[in-house]
Amino acid sequence: MLASLALRNLGRNRRRTLLTLCATVVSCSLLILALGIFSGMLADILDSTTGQYHGHLVVSSPQYPERRSLYDSFEEDLKTQEALLRHPGITGLSPRLRAFGLLSFTRAALPVELLGIRPQREASVTRLGQQLVRGSRLDSAGGAQPEVLIGEGLASRLGATVGDELAFMTQAADGSIGNDLLRIRGIFSTGDRNRDNQLALVPLDWLRELLVLPDALHELALRVDDPMEAPAIRQRLEGQLADADTSLAILDWGQLLPTMREAIANFDVSRMILIIILYSATGLGILNTFFMSVIERTREIGILLAMGMTPARVRRMILLEALFLGLISLVLGTLIGIALTAWMHQVGIDLSDWITPVTYAGGTIAPRLHATFETANILMPALILLGVCLLAGYFPARRASKLQPALAIREDA
C-alpha cells in the first residue's frame, strides 16, 4: 500500500518528477560514460607499455629485473613454456634474450638495447616489431645475413635506413668482444620516444650466438586475457614455479611499472571524487524536489497522521518515493550509460588532429576518446545514485514525520 501510494505521489507533479529524473539519469549515464572513457585511457596507457614492450607478466631469474645482467639467464625449457601456456588466462608467451651494447652506422656509436626475439612468439604477447613505418617485419626463419628492426628515433640518430648495415658491439658472456653486422630490415615506431630511441629487435638465435649464450633466455614475457587479473595469475604461477623448482621469479606489470600501477590504483580515488562531485549536485537537486513535495503536501500528510498513520510510516512513504525515483534513475541511467559507453567503445572519437600523444606514468595516452567496460564503472555510479536518492529523501522524510498534525491540517492547501 505504501509503495503504491509512493509511486502515485511521484506521478503527481509529473513535470517536476521528470525534470528530477532527467537530472539523475543524465548525471548517472554521463558518469558511466566518463568513467568508461577514463578506464579506456588507462587501458590505453597500460597497453602502451605492456602491449608494446613488457607484456603483462615476466618470468626471469629473480635478480634479472633489477640488475639486467647478461649472466642472469636461464636455460630455455620448452616444457615450462608449454605449462605456462596451458595456464588459464595466459594467451601468449615470448622467450627473450637481451643485450646492451653499441650500435653504429657511419657516425658515432649509440648505446642500444638489443632484444632477441622469435617474431611470431613475440607477436602473441606484444606489438613489438609490428608497428613499422618503413621496411618489413623480422623473418622468423632468418636469412643468411642477420637482420634488425630499429626504432624510428634510433634510425634518425644513426642516420641509417632500411637496407643499411649496422655494426653492433657488446661484451659476450665469455668476456670476448661480441660484434657483428646487422642489416636494417625495418624501422618501427611505438610512440614511446625512449623506446624508439634505443631499442633494436634481433632474432633470438643470432643474439645467442653473439653473446655466447646457447639455449639461454633472460625472460619469458606473457600476455594475459585481462590485465587486471595479472597479479592473481602471478600468485598462482609463483606456486607452480616453486613446485617445479625452477628458481625463476615472476613479476606482473604492476611490479614492473609501479608508477603505472599507482596511476591505475589512483583511478579508484579519482572515480570516487568524480562521483561525489557530480552526485552532490544531483543530490541537492533531489533534496530540493522532495522538500518542495513534502512542503506542498503538508496538509495531506497531516491528514494521514490524523487518520492514524504512524510517523514512521509517513517517513517510510517518503523514503519509498525517493527509492523509486532512484530505481527508475538507476535503470534508465545505467542503460543509457552502457549504451553511450558501448558507442564510445566501438566508435570512439579520434583526437589525433588536435592532440599529440602524451606520456604519463611511463605509458602513452593515445590521442583518442575510447571507452572500456569495467564493472565498477557501472556498478558504483548506479549504487551510489540509489544511496544519494535515499539520503536526499531522508531529510524531507524526517521533516514530514515530525509534522504536528493539528498545525499541518490547518495549513492552506
Partner: protein, 228 residues
C-alpha cells in the same frame, strides 16, 4: 467517552501568550450527538484537536475512550487514533492520488484488514451513504457532497468509537448538508457511534442533541446543563 478536566491550551506567539482554551472541562457520554458551537476563534477546533489527539494540551487532563491521552508518544497517539477516532473535515481532505474506494479503506489498510473484508465493508458503507458506483473515481472527479460522503465512509470504515467532525457542512449547499446530517444522525443511532461536531451552522446546531457553546476559550453554555 470523553472527559476533559481543567484543560488549557496556550499558544505562544513571540512573547505574547494567547489562550485558545482556558480551564475547560467537558464530559461527553458514549453515543452522544453533540456540537461545539461558537464564533470562530472561540476554541471549538482546539477542543476537537485535543480530543482527537492531534494536539497536546498545555494543562489539564484529557481522557478519550477511557485512556489518558495527555502524555503519550506520537506513535502511540497515531495508533490510538487509528483504533478509536474517525475524522471528518470541513474541506473533505481526501488523498487526491487515491480513488474513492482507496480513500475510504485507507484506515482499514493501515490496520492490515484483508482485501476481501475491506471491500465488503466499503461496499456496505458506500451503499449506505448513497455513493455506490463511485468507487473508482478520484476525489477531483467528485462533487463536494460526494467527497464528503467518501470522507464520512473513511471516518466510519474502521468502526471507530468516536467521530470528530470539524465544520463538515461549511462547504456544502444546504440540501446536501441536510442529507449528510440526516445520514450521520442515522449512523449515530444505528451504531451508537459518538459524534462530536464543531460548527456554527444553525442546521447542525438545530439537529444536535446537545449544544456546547464556547466563547473566548471558555464554556459559555451547555444545553445538557440547561436541560438538567
Amino acid at each position: 467517552m470523553i472527559h476533559l478536566e481543567n484543560v488549557s491550551k496556550i499558544y505562544r506567539t513571540g512573547n505574547r501568550e494567547v489562550a485558545a482554551l482556558l480551564d475547560f472541562s467537558l464530559d461527553v457520554a458514549r453515543g452522544e450527538f453533540s456540537v461545539l458551537a461558537g464564533p470562530s476563534g472561540s476554541g471549538k477546533t482546539t477542543v476537537l484537536n485535543l480530543i482527537g489527539c492531534l494536539d497536546q494540551s498545555t494543562r489539564g487532563r484529557i481522557e478519550v475512550a477511557g485512556m489518558d491521552v495527555s502524555r503519550r508518544t506520537v506513535t502511540q497517539l497515531a495508533s490510538f487514533r487509528l483504533a478509536h477516532i474517525g475524522f471528518i473535515f470541513q474541506s473533505y481532505n481526501l488523498i487526491p492520488v487515491l480513488s474513492a474506494q482507496e480513500n475510504a479503506e485507507f484506515t482499514l489498510m493501515l490496520r492490515g484488514v484483508p482485501k476481501a473484508k475491506r471491500q465488503a465493508r466499503i461496499q456496505e458503507l458506500f451503499e449506505r451513504l448513497g455513493i455506490a458506483g463511485l468507487e473508482n473515481r478520484k476525489p477531483g472527479d467528485l462533487s463536494g457532497g460526494q467527497q464528503q460522503r467518501v470522507a464520512i465512509a473513511r471516518a466510519m470504515a474502521a468502526k471507530p468509537n468516536l467521530i470528530l467532525a470539524d465544520e463538515p457542512t461549511a462547504n456544502l449547499d444546504s440540501k446536501t448538508s441536510e442529507d449528510l446530517l440526516e445520514l450521520m444522525r442515522e449512523l449515530n443511532e444505528e451504531q451508537q457511534i459518538t459524534f462530536l461536531f464543531s460548527s456554527h451552522d444553525p442546521m447542525i446546531i438545530g439537529c444536535a442533541r446537545r449544544v456546547i457553546e464556547l466563547k473566548d476559550g471558555h464554556l459559555a453554555s451547555d444545553s445538557k446543563d440547561s436541560a438538567a
